[in-house]
Amino acid sequence: MTGLSFDVSHFLAGALVLVSFILLYQTRLLALINIFAIQAVVLSLSVAWQAFVQDAPHLYITAAIAFLFKALIIPIALHRIIVRLGIQRDAENVVGIGPTMLAGLALVALSIVVMLRIAGDADALAREDLAFALSVVLLGLLMMVVRRNAVSMVIGFMSLENGLILAAAGAKGMPLVVEISVGFSVLVAFTVIGVFLFRISERFDTVDAQALDRFQGDRQ
């Protein structure tokens, strides 16, 4: 791999991790969704670059799916849900922003240490791509843990999934990447429909996941 293509992939993968961090400290839902859309754009650029570098045309499809579905359709749908539910300010964290960011830093450090040590034989790009991808996955998990609200949980899950797509695209010649990204899109569509369901059935005053745990005590 030449110097330039290496640098560009590296830059895009790094940008994905950076955007994951930005997601962590958003306090308003609408801003959170906008940042997520940016992350999806970065992901589709990164996958498209991999398609170009690896000369793998099927990855362009994955990039297109990521762009259309995650940068346009899902953010617009979530925007509308949020405006209709009137929960624009509702992205409270269970844990404070400071500790969350520190935990995020620790997770990125962990994944870099683990990955760089383990994947010693793989080429430098694959290794660093995997380290970045694992960071995005772990940051997505962290976001799902620290957020209380169902919409931000969904966004946490989608950003986790972005990390997986990055890893799959970076694994040179991996088959079924397109199928897997379609599979994930179905999964995500289900989550969004799920959030819709909460609204339609009007059985919940809130899409706060903690409210869902209320009945826990009675139903053991």
């Binding site: 899950f157 999934e161 599979g183």
Partner: protein, 482 residues
Amino acid sequence: MSLPGYDGVTAILALPAATALIVALIPSYRVSAMVNVISSLATFLIAVSLFSFRPANGPYFLVDDLNVVFIVLNTFVAFTTSVFSASYIAHEIETGRLTPMHLRFYHAMYQVLLFAMNLALTANNIGLMWVAIEMATLTTVAMVGIYRTQEAIEAAWKYFILGSVGIALALFGTILVYMAARPVVGEGLDGMVWTILMQRVSEFDPALLDLAFVFLMLGYGTKVGLAPLHAWLPDAHAEGPTPISAVLSGLLLNVALYAVLRFKLLLDANAHAIAPGPLMATLGLVSLIFAAFMLYRRRDIKRMFAFSSIEHMGIIVFAFGMGGALANFAGLLHMTMHSLTKSAIFFTVGHIAQVKRTQKIADITGLTVSQPWLGWSLVIGVFAIAGLPPLGVFMSEFLVVTSTFARSPILALLLVFGLIVAFGALMLRLQGMAFGEPTGGDKPSTASSLPIGAHLGLVLLAGIYPPPPLVAWFQHVAAMLR
């Protein structure tokens, strides 16, 4: 042996897929329930034929001595559950909990689930297997939430989020396996094909494989319901329709277990990778002991048996984790016995909850008086699942314990401790439910006795006189599993 022009694998995939389309179009729920039963029976019969007539293994599909056991068990329980489901949903329609429209969706989803599970079990490709398990998860999520009550939606949401995270971690593990395979096997499809991976795995980078197994174990382990990743399981079992609880416990947990077992085989074949056994044994033992104590605090009958499923999956994973011919044999036998017994219990519990109109353990009393057939079925089912002789679960638990005693007495003591704690909880609850003064609900139930009788009969047979061909087959597979 293979028969020209006959392909059992395509048939067990195409049949459920086609049936799903057909039942989605049939307006009458009685007809679609019939179609559901007939199609499931046909799928089971074709699956049995895989024992003797196997198609050649391709890059996508594989039938070997290991997965044929899973396929046949799966299709059998799917068939009996469809019989139970037909009598169960008739009652749900009468009470108005479900509408005919719901049932079209329900039957279609049931067949899609069968398709996805058969696909996961026959897949020769780790990517395809992942897609199939994801699909099975999604269909069960849709069915768990079908009652649309607050509790059902909560359960479906929880199952969905935890299941998706599990599935995502499993995918990361799958990608890592491909990364490990690529330098050896080469780029493209070959790097994900089981049969090729198994041949070349000794040359893979062990460090990458280790990391991959951690992700795969956590990911698919979530779907197996191992503590501490089990949180979705009790809710999903308690709030969905009872046939789905039976399918979840009896089948879907096994499919995830199959995935774990396959990857364990892969790691075992690489001399430099970590031994996967101790990790599995630890998770299994923790699940067993945790679930045994949790059994005491349950007030909902389906929730209690869901925790019992966690307990038994713990025992099975522990047995496979210990490894060796005897423990693997015990694990396979226990998996079969647990599937049969637990689905029989859920069939019984489904009818009990319908006659009594409650799932609260405290409100269910004197069943042997008011509903003799259901009451005694429950007694036998709970005796079986608690591991009393002469039923089959006793046999398999005994084998797990003895094989562990021979190698690690301390682990065996912990295992026995967990079993006894669980036994106490089950007997305590059973006494209240089965005996004493009956409270209401003495209207005769329309329960179909066939599925319950067939399952408990098989469990009894396995306990008294396990059929020699079955024993020989399991011994052969156990040797294959190392």
